[in-house]
Amino acid sequence: MISTRSLFLATKLLSGKKHIFKNRNILGAVLGIGLSLIPLIVVLEISSGMIEGITERYMEIGSYHLQVKPFFYLDQEHQDLAIQNIKSLKDVKSAFPVVNGVGLAYSENGRTGISFKALPRDYLNIDKSAAKFIKIESGKFKLDTNDSAMLSSEVARILDVVPGDRIKILTARKFPGRPTVLKPSYLTVNGIFSTGYYELDALSIYINIDKGKKLFTDKNSLIIGVKLFNPFENIKEKTKEVRNILGTGYSVFNWYNLEQSMIDSFNTTKTILLFIMILIVIVAAMNISSAIVMLVMEKEEAIAMLKSTGVSSSIITQAFVSMGFIIGILGTFTGLVLGLLAAININEIIHLSEIIINRFYDYIQILFSPFLILKERNFIIIDTAYYLDKIPIKLDLNSILLISTLTVLLSVFAAYFPAKRAGRLKPMDILRKH
């Protein structure tokens, strides 16, 4: 569709003294494409980073790569045998018991419902990939005794406790044929941690595995968490291998089964956001049409001259389509550079915006203080307490390539109709006019 001849003609017509960035229409079209791509790139990079950040945390700390659930109460002997069998598989990095349960926690200053996770005392050594996401905010990660507890920062905040403090917990215990009994226990806070994601932190308390087994005796409470060397590759086959080696009596779930609805919901949100952003790019690409219409008018004389020397309509059309292509490339490049810069520095941009807004708010308050009394306020754009502690960025090169190609194609499409019109111009009509 675009030949080297037409590209040469296009670059020559565009690169004249008055053109490219001195021509307002072309500059407008390039900036239009560039600016419309910025939010698209930022949304793409941030949403990919957020989805990856949240998914990784859920995989490493929440659901693990694989989860083995026994159909019966797993005693120590069966637990050790199952873990030994699972570890014998070449794709398995580690396997460990986990007891899950719920209860209530009390301190002198507060109380809250909590979600217990009982882990081996050397958990952070066994599962190094989980250790990556567990940030110790105070104290030490210690689950060595039966009364050891690690509190998430949110639970510590609600209970208003620090390492060394004691807390009371209440857990429910069921006995066949008898009413449920509430059992009080005391734990010592050894440390306070954060995973960086509010949903995972909100009500979490980590306790020692032996204590967990005593508190939660239900057969469904104990699971085996499995970590793989590569959880993204052939996950179905790896799940099957674990199922096969354990035989009957166990069900095995992988992270994708367990988190599928959450991942799908994130991806749907991402797709809707991208669709809206693509509409903005489409509107911006239409600017190219008007830029080419203006360019055709400016270059009428040249078109007439070229056609009078035998240059065909198709070469003229191709040359103006090439201009759309060049504008598209320049706009896409501008958008990519600015979009990536904005995405990479999004945390700083948000922080700076918050400072500016809050300063402006203070300034208004000072300026109109005798007449207007505003509430004291600290404006926060994104409260990181409820999302990841830092907005992560993921450079999704395939998507960037796809968006760039789509933008350039849209630019070419937008240029086609005025370019076709340029090709149809009659040289005599133009020469008479001039």
Partner: protein, 224 residues
Amino acid sequence: MSNIVIENLYKSYNTGTEKLLILKNLNLTVEPNTRVILTGSSGSGKSTLLNLISGMDNISRGKILVDNYNVHQLDENTLSSFRALSIGLIFQFHYLLKDFTALENVMMPAYMTGMPKAAALAKAEELIVEVGLEARMNHLPSQLSGGEKQRIAVVRSMINNPGIILADEPTGNLDEANSIKVEEILFELVNNHGKTLLLVTHDNSLATRGDRHLKLENGILVEL
């Protein structure tokens, strides 16, 4: 060898209120390698005749054959090829592409119609040297004098080696000294390269330089 045959040609324009008959039953045969000078008063239809021969304008009735091409029966693409390869056009105004250098202006018709870029540049360079403008080759039209621009326009018309050159008052915008220079170059090139020339002019003194002198009067062609 390129010739022009015009048979029973009529050309009229609708001005809105009346029909203006410019050319009336015009017949003409121009043999190859002939230099024809066409004179006539303003508005007599001289330029119109050249535009009809080049296919730039539409005829009302009749037939124009150039190199056996029935010009007004050609489709869009063939008409472009015909204009590129069979005729060279020179206008009163140079119509050089202002963002292109002199060299690029000359090479464009060749390059755009299929000649490889290097060959088109070499050919353009050769022609520019022939008219003594080698020092101005890489200058933009805005950096050239009126006479130089028109000399570039003359060589541009020859880049595709057409058999016929149609020149519409090529010196009409130039002072006397430059007019003489451009005329010299035009006739020299036409002679050297063996072209058929149809030159429209107001200057009767040029008539002596042609093999034939024709005059258009009231839409009718008269051989002088």
